[in-house]
C-alpha cells in the first residue's frame, strides 16, 4: 500500500480546522501518526533569522528523500506484533537488510528512482539496507526545478547563511510512488543540545541512589554491550580520561562512527555542543564502565534540518552493533518540518524492528519545549524525537538521597523562574501507542496522543551530575544527562538478562509499562509524585512530568528478565 506523506501545512487544514485531515503512516510499534488541524505546526515565530534573499542557484544542497514503506499497513501490524507477547511474531526482530527486503521498496523500484534522480541532476550520496531514505545532493537550482520550490537564504547565528524552502517542496509525479517526502531542506530547524551546566552527582552516587551497585558487585558492568551515542559535535578525549581518572573508572572504550560523505564527521559544535557530547559519553561510561560506547556523529553546522538524526539512526541499525541508543539532541516538535519528522520516523521504525531501544531526552524547558527556540513561544509542546512512539522519552527529576547516599526521594524537575524543567506533554502528531497504558496514563490532560516522558532520572542542574570538561570537573544537568544514564542502565539490564537466559530485550518501552502496571515485589521504578514541569504535576503512577519514574536498576534487571523469560506473560 502506498504510504501518503505526513502532509504539509497547506494541505492539512480542513475548512473548519476541526476535522482530522490526515490519518496516515504507521508509527513505531503500531501507533498511527495523525495530524490534527488544531495541532498544525507552524514555523518558529522568531529567532529563525531574517530572509537574505534567494539562495545562490549554485549552492550545493544536501537533503534526503524519504522512501515509502512497501507495505505500510503490514509494517504497522508487524511493529505492534513485535511487542505483543501473545503474537507469534513477539520479539522476532528484523535486522536492517531483512527489514529492507520485507518493508522497503523493491529493488527494481529503487533502481528506477536512482535512474530518474540521476537524469534530473540529483546525486545520491547515501542509502541504507533498511531502505528508509536516500541521502542526496544537488545544486539549489536543481532542487528548485525538480521539487517545485524556491530556496531562500536566512541569517543564522555567527553569520552563517541558512537556506529553507519558501513553500512546501513537491515530490514529482514520476517519483511519488516511491518517495513520500523531501526532508532536510530547512536548515533553520536547528538541532539543539540539551545540556545544562551545574550539579555534582558522581558515578558512585548515581550507582548507590539508583540501585546499580548490586549489579556492579555481581560483575555486571556492561561487558559485551554497546551503547550508541548520537552527537553533532566533536569532543576532547582528554575530558573522558580526566573523568575516568577523577572517579577511578577504567579507561573508556569509545569508537567513532561518522556520517557518510558529504556530511562526514562532527566538527566544532561550540562549547555547548562539546559539553553535551562529553557529558553523554561520560555518563554512559560511568554507569556501564565496561561497555563499548560508539559515538555516531555528524557535523552540527551542516545539519540540514532534523533529518540528520534519521541518518545517524539508520547507521546504528545498519551497523547492528548497539541495542541501546542515547540521543540528547532534538528540536521542538511543533516547529520541526513534517518531512524531517517522517524521515526520522522511518529510521526509528527500522530500529524498533531490529530490537533497538532509543532513549531520548525530553528537553529542558518543561512543558514548553518550543520556548527553547523562541522565548515568546508559550505553546505547550514536546521535543522531537522524544515524542516518537518508537523512542523512550526520558524526563527530569531532582534527586534527594539519605545520609548514607541511598535513595531518599525525587521531585519533578522544575525551575519556574529560569524556564527550566523536564520535558513532558502531548505529541501533536502521534497517537498514544497501545503499550502506553497503566495507572496514571489516562488522566485529565490526555487527548489520545502520544504522551511523554516514559521514564525519568536526575536532571536538575542544581543537584545534577559531575562532568569533566575543559580540564576541570564541572557540574551539569538537564535531561540530556538523564538519557545516557537510562541507556547505560538498560545496557546493564540487557547484560543481566543475557546472563539469565534472555538474549534480547528489544524495544523496552512496552515491557517497562507492563512492569509498572503489574506491580512488582521489588519495584523497578521510583514513582515520583511531587513537583511539576511548569504545567503538568507529578502524581502517583505515570504522569506528564516524570513518566513512570526513575529506576532501581537492579530491581529493573530482575523484574524485566523475569517478565521476558515468561514471554511477557508473567511478572
Amino acid at each position: 500500500m502506498r504510504r501518503p506523506g505526513i502532509g504539509r501545512p497547506g494541505r492539512r487544514s480542513g475548512a473548519l480546522g476541526l476535522v482530522l485531515a490526515a490519518l496516515v503512516v504507521a508509527g513505531g510499534s503500531g501507533a498511527a501518526l495523525a495530524v490534527l488541524a488544531g495541532a498544525t505546526p507552524r514555523p518558529a515565530p522568531t529567532g529563525a533569522g531574517r530572509a537574505l534573499g534567494a539562495t545562490d542557484p549554485r549552492t550545493i544542497v544536501d537533503f534526503s528523500l524519504v522512501l515509502r514503506a512497501a507495505h505500510g499497513r503490514r509494517l504497522s501490524r508487524f511493529l505492534a506484533a513485535l511487542e505483543d507477547p501473545a503474537s507469534p511474531s513477539y520479539h522476532h526482530f528484523l535486522g536492517a537488510r531483512a527489514f529492507g527486503r520485507r518493508f522497503g521498496l523493491p529493488i527494481a523500484e529503487l533502481r528506477r528512482v536512482r535512474r530518474r534522480l540521476r537524469a534530473d541532476g540529483v546525486r545520491i550520496t547515501g542509502s541504507y539496507p533498511q531502505r528508509t531514505a536516500l541521502d542526496v545532493t544537488a545544486p539549489a537550482r536543481v532542487v528548485e526545478r525538480v521539487f517545485g520550490t524556491r530556496l531562500v537564504d536566512y541569517a543564522g547565528a555567527g553569520g552563517r547563511r541558512l537556506h529553507a524552502p519558501a513553500g512546501s517542496p513537491t515530490v514529482p509525479a514520476a517519483l511519488s510512488g516511491a518517495v513520500s517526502a523531501v526532508a532536510g531542506l530547512d536548515q533553520r530547524a536547528a538541532i539543539r543540545p540539551e545540556d545544562v551546566p551545574s550539579g555534582g552527582l558522581a558515578p558512585s552516587d548515581a550507582a548507590l541512589a539508583y540501585g546499580i551497585r548490586p549489579l556492579w558487585r555481581a560483575g555486571i558492568q556492561g561487558q559485551g554491550q554497546t551503547i550508541a551515542i548520537l552527537s553533532f559535535s566533536d569532543y576532547d578525549p582528554s575530558s573522558l580520561s580526566g573523568f575516568d581518572g577523577q572517579f577511578g573508572l577504567p579507561p573508556a572504550t569509545v569508537a567513532d562512527r561518522s556520517a557518510p560523505a558529504p556530511l562526514g564527521a562532527a566538527g566544532d559544535g561550540g562549547a555547548a555542543g562539546r559539553q553535551e557530547v562529553e557529558l553523554d559519553l561520560e555518563i554512559a561510561h560511568a554507569i556501564a564502565p565496561r561497555a563499548t560506547v560508539v559515538d555516531y556523529n555528524a557535523p552540527f553546522v551542516d545539519a540540514s534540518g532534523d533529518d540528520t538524526l534519521g541518518t545517524l539512526l539508520d547507521l546504528v541499525v545498519a551497523d547492528g552493533r548497539a541495542k541501546v541508543v542515547s540521543d540528547s539532541w532534538g528540536t521542538c516538535e511543533l516547529t520541526t518540518p513534517t518531512a524531517d519528522i517522517e524521515r526520522d520516523e522511518r529510521a526509528i521504525e527500522a530500529a524498533v524492528a531490529a530490537g533497538v531501544s532509543i532513549f531520548k531526552s525530553t528537553g529542558d524547558a518543561g512543558a514548553y519545549q518550543c520556548q527553547r527556540a523562541s522565548q515568546s513561544d508559550h505553546r505547550l509542546s514536546v521535543e522531537w524525537p522524544a515524542s516518537s512512539p518508537g523512542v523512550i522519552g526520558v524526563g527530569g527529576t531532582s534527586l534527594s538521597v539519605a545520609r548514607d547516599g541511598s535513595y531518599r526521594g525525587e521531585t519533578a524537575w522544575e525551575d519556574t523562574l529560569s524556564q527550566g524543567g523536564g520535558g513532558g506533554g502531548l505529541s501533536a502528531y502521534f497517537r498514544r501507542p497501545s503499550w502506553q497504558s497503566g495507572p496514571g496514563v489516562i488522566n485529565r490532560f490526555s487527548n489520545g496522543h502520544r504522551q511523554v516522558p516514559d521514564v525519568s532520572a536526575a536532571a536538575d542542574p542544581a543537584n545534577g551530575w559531575a562532568a569533566f570538561g575543559g580540564g576541570t570537573l564541572g557540574e551539569e544537568g538537564g535531561t540530556s544527562a538523564a538519557s545516557p544514564f537510562w541507556a547505560a542502565a538498560m545496557a546493564l539490564v540487557t547484560q543481566y538478562a543475557a546472563q539469565h537466559g534472555v538474549h534480547a530485550v528489544g524495544f523496552a518501552a512496552p515491557a517497562l509499562y507492563a512492569l509498572a502496571a503489574r506491580g512488582q515485589p521489588a519495584p523497578p521504578f521510583h514513582d515520583v509524585t511531587t513537583g511539576s514541569n511548569r504545567h503538568y504535576p507529578a502524581s502517583p503512577g505515570w504522569d506528564f512530568a516524570t513518566g513512570l519514574g526513575s529506576p532501581d536498576v537492579a530491581n529493573l534487571a530482575r523484574d524485566l528478565t523475569s517478565y521476558l523469560r515468561g514471554g511477557g506473560a508473567r511478572g
Binding site: G245, A402, G405, S418, A462, T530
Partner: protein, 240 residues
C-alpha cells in the same frame, strides 16, 4: 537576626530530605561577579541590613589531577546549603551563604540580599502568613504592595519574561512577572524586574518575591536560577 547568626552550615548534618550535590546551584560565583552590572535590590524597609550582605567567594574548580582529593569511593551523601527556618510557621528554605545573606528577618519572613563587587545587587524575600489570610493568587498583589521604594508597578508584558507555571516548595500556586521603577537615595531611577510566586499547603501561605535590575538580562537570568533553587528548597512545616 543577623545574617551571621542565621548561617548554619549543615554540610553532612542530614537532618531531612535534601537536594543532593555540591549544591552551588546554577549560579556560579565567577559568572555572577563578572556579569551583574546594574541594579540594587528593592528594599523592604531593611536598608539598615544592606551592609551585612555577603561577598561571593570564588571556589576553585577541581583539577583533573585530583586536586579536590582522591576519587570518591562512596558518595558524598548530602551537602546542604545554609538553612533559614521560620519560627512562627515552621517552614524553611536553603540558600547559598557564599552568595546571599539574610539582611533582615522576623518569625515569618526573611529578606535575602546579594551585593556584588561591582556594586550591583538583588533581593529575594520569602514571607509566610496563615493560609487563612488569602490565596496564592491574592498573595501576589499583596506582595507587590509591600515593595517600598518601587513605583509604577505593572505587569511585565515582554513575552520572554512571562512566568509559566508558578509555585513554591513543589506545590502548585500562582506567579507573575512585573516591572517597576526604583528611586535610589541619589534620586536616580532605574527599572526593576520583579517576579512573585506563591503557594499554600493549607496551613501556611508562602510568597517569594525576587527583584533585580532589569537592565542586564544575563545576570538576571543567573539570579533566577539561584532563586529557583531557593524556591525548590522550601520545606513546609508538615513536609512536602
Amino acid at each position: 537576626v543577623s545574617a551571621g547568626a542565621e548561617r548554619l552550615d549543615l554540610r553532612g548534618a542530614h537532618v531531612r530530605p535534601e537536594r543532593r550535590g555540591l549544591a552551588h546551584g546554577r549560579l556560579r560565583p565567577r559568572r555572577v561577579l563578572t556579569g551583574f552590572i546594574g541594579g540594587i535590590a528593592i528594599l523592604i524597609g531593611v536598608a539598615a541590613g544592606i551592609g551585612a550582605v555577603a561577598t561571593p567567594v570564588h571556589r576553585a574548580p577541581c583539577a583533573g589531577s585530583g586536586a579536590c582529593g582522591a576519587p570518591p569511593v562512596l558518595s558524598e551523601p548530602l551537602i546542604n546549603e545554609t538553612v533559614w527556618r521560620s519560627s512562627l510557621y515552621g517552614y524553611s528554605f536553603e540558600y547559598p551563604g557564599r552568595l546571599l545573606s539574610v539582611v533582615d528577618s522576623s518569625g515569618s519572613a526573611a529578606v535575602l540580599g546579594a551585593q556584588f563587587r561591582n556594586g550591583g545587587g538583588a533581593t529575594i524575600v520569602v514571607r509566610g502568613e496563615p493560609a487563612s489570610d488569602g490565596t496564592p493568587k491574592s498573595a501576589i498583589p499583596a506582595a507587590l504592595g509591600r515593595l517600598s521604594g518601587v513605583s509604577a508597578i505593572a505587569r511585565d508584558t515582554t513575552a520572554g519574561d512571562q512566568l509559566l507555571g508558578g509555585g513554591v516548595g513543589h506545590r502548585l500556586g500562582a506567579g507573575g512577572a512585573y516591572e517597576g521603577v526604583l528611586a535610589s537615595p541619589q534620586g536616580v531611577s532605574q527599572s526593576e524586574s520583579i517576579v512573585v510566586e506563591a503557594a499554600s499547603d493549607g496551613r501556611v501561605l508562602l510568597t517569594v518575591s525576587v527583584a533585580a535590575s532589569s537592565g542586564d538580562a544575563g545576570p538576571r537570568s543567573e539570579l533566577y536560577q539561584l532563586a529557583d533553587a531557593i524556591v525548590n528548597s522550601v520545606q513546609w512545616a508538615g513536609g512536602r
